[in-house]
């Protein structure tokens, strides 16, 4: 499989603008020689050939997949990303890179750590008893799994856009992080042309099936050769080698999850399992859209009496067309997901908020829902009981974030004078100055219109991030918006009846979308004000979730004050649940 990566000048590692691979192994306390991808011998062969026993191939692989994932984000967002730990730093860009340790430790684990500014990947011997497709005891490298690399890189990318999403505000917040990381990894499967085409052929175009028919029809007394075995559909499975090596006999997770029902959401709290409900909702919509978009081709094929049920008979032209549509639809859905991040609240994300963000972001760019993507998303979320708060129905109109008119404002709040040219062409000093000017303007705007933005006038307002967003719609029209995040916080007693007991930081804020004229278009808010109905509800939910976390943390009995509120999520711990 070939992997295309945006070109840049690389130092040995590889190390580039965003990433630096450092092959230090803490278990053995050794470094492995770094690969030099700019070395002529390697350049000529388009990189090193796959080899498990060559750490330099691992370095190349982890670098390539991580770069590709970053590139997908930048394309969808229409701007350069900056890692969360580097956002306010005045250091050189070289200091702001995300480090990747491809063989960090001997452990069946991999995670993103903001504190270490790194992605760490472990290696481990496969289960002796039940290694699946691996050899018993064979060394399994997490840094050789496309899915694991894409998943961990996405954690870092989501954190670069919304660093307060790691706050444990409800069961949805950690689950959202996991779900988003899985979505990016899974949608990338559909960009691998050969693999996709192969699966289209083997499933007769039904790529949404969780298992794949055997290549050969089974003998009457059961399968005798491998080709007669049905296998899992790799397009919808995540990290199969890892799952096998752990003795799970299957992929780590699946895009399809359990059949939709509206009850799971009430009691499933483990982040990965809860996240898989969101993943399944998005994939339900994606596959439904794919079926709708290919139904004409299928009808033509049927009328031409092409047998569609046996894999061998799918006409190669038809398979190519289906693969093309599947790849394009996957790309659209991934774009919808990534763009929705700009329309998410700054903190306390709920699954329902993400639905509203997707619907609003997509309808902003593509007013006409020609392929029925938004309708499919709404239906899939509804079937899983994901109910957005403060919304009266599942119609597209009511799911859009409120406009100032809907909020009953007499006039549209305006924020004028923001400048962004320096970010395109200016020097670092220009950028810094422009950034400060913009921050002042935005702060004035937010203070003046605190009521309209549902910001509390008794707490400080921080203008946290802001950027302009250019996007080109399918009809070639350019849209221009400014997205800004405002944050507020209050110190609140952890237990309502203990005024002098432990406290935690209750955060809220508003994401503001401004139009090209500086007029407010949407205010996506999570209020903190004591008199706000929404804040009261949020606070109760947050306390309840802290109770749950305390009850589930094995170290909780032995430590004095478990500051579940102010200390972010630890992906290391979350991932220990695999």
């Amino acid at each position: 499989m070939m992997c295309q990566v945006p070109y840049e000048n690389l130092r040995p590692g590889p190390a580039g603008k965003y990433l630096a691979v450092i092959d230090y192994d803490t278990s053995n306390k050794v470094y492995y020689w770094p690969v030099d991808l700019d070395h002529p011998a390697i350049l000529l062969g388009s990189g090193l050939d796959p080899s498990e026993s060559d750490p330099q191939f691992h370095q190349q692989m982890v670098y390539a997949i991580a770069s590709q994932t970053i590139d997908r984000f930048e394309q969808a967002l229409g701007r350069k990303i900056r890692w969360s730990f580097n956002r306010w730093s005045s250091r050189d860009e070289a200091d702001g890179v995300l480090r990747i340790y491809p063989h960090a430790m001997q452990e069946a684990n991999a995670y993103y750590s903001r504190e270490l500014r790194a992605l760490v990947f472990g290696y481990f011997p496969a289960s002796e008893m039940d290694p699946g497709d691996n050899l018993p005891g064979q060394t399994v490298f997490t840094c050789l799994s496309h899915d694991i690399i894409a998943h961990e890189t996405t954690h870092a990318l989501v954190d670069s856009q919304r660093d307060f999403f790691t706050e444990p505000t409800s069961a949805d917040a950690p689950a959202f992080h996991e779900a988003f990381a899985d979505l990016v990894a899974l949608f990338q499967h559909f960009s691998f042309k050969e693999a996709l085409l192969e699966m289209i052929k083997r499933t007769g175009g039904k790529i949404y099936r969780s298992s794949v028919e055997a290549e050969a029809a089974q003998s009457p007394d059961g399968p005798a050769i491998s080709a007669e075995l049905t296998t899992d559909n790799p397009m919808v499975g995540l990290a199969k080698q890892f799952g096998d090596a752990m003795g799970m006999r299957k992929a780590l997770r699946s895009a399809l999850g359990t059949p939709p029902n509206s009850r799971d959401l009430d009691h499933v709290t483990e982040p990965h399992v809860r996240g898989s409900i969101l993943v399944a909702a998005v994939f339900d919509a994606f596959f439904s859209a794919y079926v709708r978009r290919t139904s004409d081709l299928m009808r033509i094929a049927r009328s031409a009496r092409l047998a569609l049920d046996t894999a061998d008979d799918l006409h190669p032209d038809l398979a190519n067309r289906l693969a093309g549509i599947a790849a394009a639809t996957a790309e659209h859905f991934l774009n919808i997901c990534i763009r929705a991040l700009d329309y998410c609240p700054p903190v306390d994300i709920l699954f329902g908020d993400f639905l509203r963000a997707m619907i609003t972001a997509d309808s902003d760019l593509i007013p006409d829902d020609e392929h029925g993507y938004r309708a499919a998303l709404i239906e899939a979320f509804r079937r899983r009981g994901i109910v957005p708060e403060w919304v009266t129905s599942y119609s597209e109109e009511s799911l859009l974030w409120n406009s100032p008119e809907q909020d009953g404002l007499d006039s549209v709040p305006l924020c004028t004078g923001l400048q962004f040219e320096a970010f395109q062409s200016g020097t670092r000093k220009d950028r810094r100055e422009q950034m400060q000017k913009n921050a002042v303007l935005l702060h004035e705007f937010a203070t003046r219109h605190a009521d309209a933005l549902r910001l509390s006038s008794s707490e400080k307002i921080h203008a946290r991030t802001f950027h302009e967003v250019h996007r080109v719609g399918p009809d070639g029209q350019l849209t221009f918006n400014v997205v800004a995040e405002f944050m507020q916080q209050r110190e609140i007693p952890r237990f309502p009846h203990l005024r002098h007991g432990p406290k935690f930081t209750f955060r809220g804020g508003t994401t503001v979308i401004l139009g090209p004229d500086g007029g407010l278009r949407y205010a996506v808010r999570k209020p903190v004000a004591a008199d706000s109905e929404s804040a009261v509800k949020r606070l109760a939910r947050q306390r309840e979730y802290h109770d749950y976390l305390e009850a589930n943390l094995s170290f909780a009995p032995y430590v004095e004050d478990i500051q579940t509120g102010s200390q972010g999520m630890n992906f290391n711990m979350v991932h220990r649940g695999y």
Partner: protein
């Protein structure tokens, strides 16, 4: 608080729950009246629930406690329950083995996870034992820490476990219990028991399996530290001094930070294992002449959730008349639902606790909630003053009252709660 000269005598209409001050640990003796006792016969039958102290929470009362048990019961125990394999619940069966050998024991109730004839249980124990050994070895040289104390509690229990599995002497018989067991008949007339934990569900077992890093598993086999796998051939090992490594090699403090952060799993693992052991706890609900006594051992959240979700807590909890507070009053050992589900003022509670080795135990908000819910009918073992034993910390709750609540009385080494029935 003066010690009354004479405790109220037991009569045929009274159940007595005796909580010993044993240090950081549990030891409860429950005496049920026998209805048709003739003169000279026993008037009560006895159940001993746990007898152990944490190695870092000893106060030197163990021998005296066991002597008192012998005296009170005339060395006859109808039922012995060992809730789970932590030193603070079973160490006494080992250190006082000679004394216990003289007892006439009926049944020994143990969690199903101890039954080595059970494949699942055997697998679990093998893994837990290996992990505990590895962690203990790893932490041996380390300074005292919260995690180290947790591991101390886990190791050195093999003898006690073997004795208990063997029925604690000639006469006793081990009985392995699983959540859902309904014991209509017990060795004590009129006493029945419902077992609410430990569960046997797949989900529960998943939680019992601490996510061990390969490093510690490897370390565990045979207790010998094996070198880590070397994933690549020697030729790939870089020379740190080489020119092309200059831009790559980390500063030594960065290497150190990385190693500590990635290695923090030792502590996580120690606590996960501790948590898994606590959740093995036998949870027994005794019913006797309309009284309901709930003994949850050290059950933590994972154990409770099973029966709160599968049994009918709305029927069980409001009836409870006596509650032994789980896990010494720690934060996640008594779910909110449980406190809320019991009837205000209808039950009394006892908590065997002390602020050492963990100052976070007992948890103040939980103690306050129970104090309120029981209408101040809650007693802590560390209110008993014993030379050299830690006193309750000043900011803890509930504070020691002037007078013991109604139904309670105090002895040299114990508090009694008397339930008329």
């Amino acid at each position: 608080m003066p010690i009354p000269k004479k405790s109220k005598e037991l009569d045929a209409k009274t159940i007595r729950v005796r909580m010993y001050r044993i240090g950081f640990g549990d030891c409860f003796l429950v005496s049920f009246p026998l209805s048709q006792s003739k003169k000279g016969d026993d008037t009560h039958a006895h159940v001993l629930i746990d007898c152990g102290v944490h190695p870092s929470g000893r106060i030197g009362t163990m021998e005296a406690v066991v002597d008192n048990i012998a005296e009170v019961t005339d060395r006859k125990l109808s039922i012995v329950i060992a809730s789970h394999a932590h030193a603070d619940h079973i160490s006494g069966f080992d250190t006082c083995a000679a004394k216990f050998a003289q007892f006439d024991v009926g049944e020994v109730w143990l969690p199903w996870t101890w039954n080595l004839k059970d494949k699942e249980a055997a697998k679990l124990q093998k893994k837990h034992t290996a992990l505990a050994a590895a962690l203990s070895q790893h932490l041996a040289a380390a300074p005292t820490s919260k995690a180290k104390s947790a591991i101390e509690n886990l190791t050195g229990n093999a003898h006690a476990v073997a004795l208990l599995n063997d029925g604690l002497g000639m006469s006793g018989k081990a009985k392995y219990l699983t959540a859902g067991d309904d014991l209509e008949k017990t060795p004590i007339p009129n006493l029945s028991a419902r077992i609410l934990g430990p569960p046997r569900s797949v989900e529960f077992l998943g939680k019992m399996d601490p996510p061990a890093s390969q490093h510690y598993l490897r370390l565990a086999e045979g207790g010998v530290t094996e070198p880590p796998i070397q994933p690549f051939q020697k030729r790939w090992l870089a020379n740190r001094e080489a020119e092309e490594m200059a831009a790559i090699v980390l500063k030594s403090e960065e290497e150190k930070e990385l190693e500590t952060t990635l290695g923090s799993s030792v502590e996580d693992l120690a606590f996960s294992l501790d948590n898994a052991k606590n959740n093995e706890s036998v949870v027994a609900l005794f019913a006797f002449r309309g009284q309901y006594l709930l003994f949850p051992g050290d059950a933590q959240y994972g154990n409770w959730t099973w029966w709160l979700d599968h049994e009918s807590p709305e029927e069980i909890l409001p009836r409870v008349t006596f509650f032994k507070v789980s896990h010494h009053g720690s934060v996640n050992a008594t779910p909110k639902r449980v406190v809320e589900g019991m009837s205000a003022g209808k039950f009394a509670a006892m908590v065997s606790t002390q602020s050492s080795p963990w100052s976070s135990i007992p948890r103040v908000p939980l103690m306050e909630a129970l104090d309120e819910k029981t209408k101040q009918r809650i007693v802590r073992s560390d209110w008993l003053e014993i030379d050299g034993a830690p006193k309750p910390s000043p900011e803890t709750a509930p504070a020691k009252p002037q007078k013991l609540p109604k139904g309670f009385q105090q002895g040299r080494l114990w508090f009694d709660y008397l339930i008329p029935c």
